[in-house]
Symmetry: C2
Subunit: 600 residues, 2 copies
């Protein structure tokens, strides 16, 4: 149940598909030389494989526990987090000005994948801390930044995101937590927040809660929400820790998975009010929180890829070891390792193909984000910003839904042993199940993809990406035309069909979103999945073209890439037409709402 | 988290799709009058809903536990099992001669569905007992039958199936347990069996283990396996219990789900040999065990339907209760119950459509089984036997794979609450995960469907069922032709496409199974899923035709059936073409085996 980071595939994607050279040439990223990047990836692989991954099973068996308002994490987590901070891993993409390493998201993303593959529960603490850092960088005053960022970036303190309340989950308009202004400019915060990841723990000296709340007289709904920093311990002007703030962890949840990660109910203000500091301006909290959420959504997508790879690695190890049954083609009279059975091979290749496709898309998107922030001219920045924002819900929705299938296949490869907890395959299956839910369910992502990302700009971003896919199809035509290349031919045909299906789906969404909102939003998850298949397939196609050209340079690696891409083309891409049919089929029946509620 | 048996849908399917009148007219089934059947279904619904269902959560929270060689089941299980036996539920389909009720499988199957929906863990004990009864009925001597059957059928004793050993899971050729003949005609059994469901427990006075073992000098492989009865307590000639036999439960497994059901490691013969009695003839054990296994495989398919319905019911209840967000079509300025959101409605309808389709197919298959056993003429019996045997792997494979999706959607409908164990949705998701594994993994079912059920008879059974589908398509043409019936039109088109895809897949399998075994067996799960979609869709189509004609008789029920069938047509059946592409796409690349093992 060890974890070996897929550094070779990561470096391949970073260099060949995501354009590391181009990213490293951007202003501010000059330090991201090929050598540095390779060294960082190698060190991350080592650290997460050796220090973090071995704690994964322990986290499941001895989850975080709550005692008298305090959470104790799994033995070993606190020490590992200390090493994580000291190694500079929390600060990898954050500004040098506050102690970070200032590396591109293209370098930070694979590190995030490795951390999550090593230990999803552990990684959540760092991911939430990233979110808090992003919010403060976006909207925090200089004073707040100076007070909190260096310690957060050093991994000495951690961060949380406090959105959900019992009555307000996906719908933040229903938020009730309130913040009352005080004479000294601070606020007193009162309310209950639930589902707060790492809302309390013993892995750092302080916890910096980012909390959504309403100020007196604020507008109703989402336009009256403000964002506050509420530290667990107040921070003195000299940076030392002061009094305990009035925020209490009243319980943690008993969950299906990610058990080491404490999911807290936090009570603010039961003893006079929790002292909080406004971030940015009043009533703009949701806007700031979206900055965090977009980063977090991308991160959760990466979690889906990470847990898929971990499940894949474990399934491969078992399939190579477990001997059972003679081969169906009669090639052996003895029972063989089950990896030689066609259906096991099919499952493993599917796990691998889905994971590699999603990984490539996530890293390409990370490069887009870097370009969106650092490209010298505004037009390029805007283009990549729009492309990145289109991809975020796809990566979050697709990679996490995919991870349900991949971790389930991981159990299946193990047969009966997969159902026994000691084997470890079931933990990945359980852990993954939260991913299509938190940071916005798949439906929320899909509605975002339909509404904000496709309809709002009249399909501009969608069509720009389709044009990119078309360029790859042209390259496949050349590659397939060269003769006997079965993989390129198959990919040319299947990506072509799938891309046309997505093109028609984009048109359908644009034409009908206003006319038939229930139909279009009822089919939005199918639309997201169609985009996911086509765009991850597109990346596999790009990888295939490179691999076909470079095959002689590294036969083992590129032959595997070609075979995996061929599988993706023949076995996965054909699903696109079924998804298109589901999307267009939703029209005319009021989006499945024609059956009266009483009849369910 | 209560369970209300879907008696209305069950009675609809039994009467309108499975032909209860015809079954009740078969010799031996004269007692299965419409009134009796309705009464039995109603009583079963009451008993399982009121007595068995309330124990489901307790079984998960306080699973079976092992202490010094004895298993203690969840508090309440033993008393419930006593009531189950006294109510005659164990004997529902078993011969009157041994105390059973002798009712058709068409009546027993919905009772099995209800029991499993109420409590999967509890139901397993009765299902395994059914298997032991079947094996004894098939091959047991009169003496063994007289000694064991009445107590098993009365629910006083329970049965187990002992196949798996640590090195022999799917591959029974590797079996090592041995049985040495004794002077008195009995045998002494030595060996270790794992994954023995209800291998020990405190719910009955005795446990009747059916054990596969090898006799001295038996041929190697599966042709040298014999079947033995090894009771936990020996049975005296007067029927009273004698000495404790030499079979020990040395541990039980810590599992992902179905935690109340003890999964035992049994050690036979550590203290001189466990006394066993040969069932039937030596070396024919696998053949007899297949009788049990076929019944058990069908039963596991029904478990998939049952857990899907339970998850559906729970998701509907939550979706009607949970208020969150305003509707996307602007029809309300207030937040509404989430069942009004199109994607939630889509998920619920998908859960419902898949479950209803699979239920209908299972009950039609049950009727086929009744006809295969009780039709007066041999030709009819043979025809229905072949049709039933074709359907068994489809029902087992499809209904259980489907249950993974349905229970996962059940979690998703709950959002964050779905991940919290207290909610109960996660238990269904965990419980369901064993279903595509035990009694033969999905690949085993798929290989059976390809090899024994499609290729061996040259496609006869497959094509006979396709001809039945064609008759339904004809009926849909009439129904669609009558005018504005959108549901019939959609089903006519989509079932037509899907049936053609399955037809081509049957041809592909027949043509290539010998030529390209790795390709065909690598695509066998896709073939099984294609058959599952088409045949459950076919049953939804049959239901649609009836509902269209009878709509005015019960508007609420039939309108729901029509809407559900339309959803199946538009949203689910289009997946058939993707599966066909996956099947034919497997050809020519050696069934995914072209990538060297070392590259995984």
């Amino acid at each position: 149940m060890s974890y070996t980071a897929p550094t070779k595939d990561i470096l391949f994607v970073i260099r060949e598909l995501a354009g590391l050279t181009k990213i490293a040439s951007l202003p501010g990223y000059e330090d991201a030389t090929p050598d540095t990047v390779e060294a960082v990836i190698g060190e991350a692989a080592k650290f997460h494989g050796e220090v973090i991954a071995p704690l994964n099973v322990a986290g499941d068996k001895q989850p975080s526990s709550w005692h008298d308002g305090e959470v104790r994490t799994t033995p070993g987590f606190a020490e590992a987090f200390r090493q994580f901070g000291e190694g500079g891993w929390q600060g990898i993409v954050h500004p040098v000005e506050f102690g970070g390493q200032g590396l591109p998201k293209l370098v930070g993303t694979p590190c995030m994948e490795m951390m999550n593959a090593a230990n999803l529960s552990f990684a959540l603490c760092a991911m939430l801390t990233d979110g808090a850092i992003e919010a403060l960088l976006t909207a925090g005053s200089d004073e707040l930044k100076q007070r909190f960022l260096p310690r957060l970036i050093a991994g000495e303190w951690t961060g949380t995101m406090n959105l959900t309340e019992p009555q307000a989950g996906s719908d933040l308009a229903l938020l009730r937590t309130r913040a009352e202004p005080q004479a000294d400019g601070s606020y007193k915060v009162f309310g209950t927040k639930i589902f707060i990841t790492y809302g309390d723990h013993d892995m750092a000296d302080n916890i910096v809660h980012l909390v959504l709340a309403r100020t007196p007289g604020a507008p109703e709904g989402v336009k009256g929400i403000s964002l506050f920093v509420v530290p667990k311990f107040l921070v003195n002007d000299d940076g030392s820790l002061g009094a305990r703030n009035d925020v209490q962890c009243v319980s943690i949840e008993h969950k299906l998975g990610i058990k080491a990660s404490p999911t807290a109910v936090l009570q603010f203000g039961d003893h006079g009010g929790a002292i909080g500091y406004l971030v940015g301006e009043e009533n703009r909290g949701l806007e700031y929180m979206f900055v965090m959420m977009n980063a977090a959504r991308f991160g959760v997508g990466v979690q889906g890829i990470a847990i898929s790879d971990r499940a894949y690695q474990q399934a491969v190890a078992y399939a190579k070891d477990r001997v059972q049954s003679r081969p169906v083609d009669g090639s052996s009279r003895e029972a063989v390792a089950i990896i030689h059975h066609p259906d096991v091979r099919r499952m493993l290749t599917e796990m691998r193909a889905l994971t590699e496709g999603a990984r490539a898309l996530s890293l390409v998107a990370a490069a887009y984000s870097d370009l969106a922030h650092h490209a010298p001219d505004a037009y390029t920045r805007a283009q990549f910003k729009s492309a990145y924002e289109f991809l975020v819900p796809v990566i979050k929705g697709w990679s996490t839904e995919m991870s349900l299938d991949v971790t389930s296949l991981g159990v299946q490869v193990h047969g009966g042993m997969g159902f026994i907890e000691e084997t470890g395959a079931a933990q990945h299956f359980r852990d993954a199940r939260i991913l299509p839910i938190y940071e916005g369910t798949t439906a929320i992502q899909a509605n975002d993809l339909v509404g904000r990302k496709t309809v709002r700009d009249g399909g501009l971003a969608a069509r720009a990406i389709l044009a990119e896919v078309d360029q790859t199809i042209d390259a496949l035509r050349v590659c397939a035309g060269s003769g006997a290349d079965a993989a390129c031919s198959a990919m040319f045909v299947q990506l072509g069909y799938a891309r046309m299906a997505l093109g028609r789906a984009v048109d359908f969404v644009l034409e009908n979103a206003a006319k038939e909102p229930n139909a279009v939003f009822g089919a939005s998850v199918a639309y997201l999945k169609l985009a996911g298949i086509v765009l991850t397939g597109w990346q596999m196609a790009r990888a295939l073209v490179v691999a076909t050209h470079k095959r002689s340079e590294d036969e083992a690696f590129y032959a595997a890439k070609i075979a995996t891409a061929e599988f993706f083309a023949k076995q996965i891409l054909p699903r696109a037409t079924a998804l298109e049919a589901a999307i267009t089929g939703a029209s005319g029946e009021d989006g499945f709402l024609n059956l009266d509620e009483s009849r369910f």
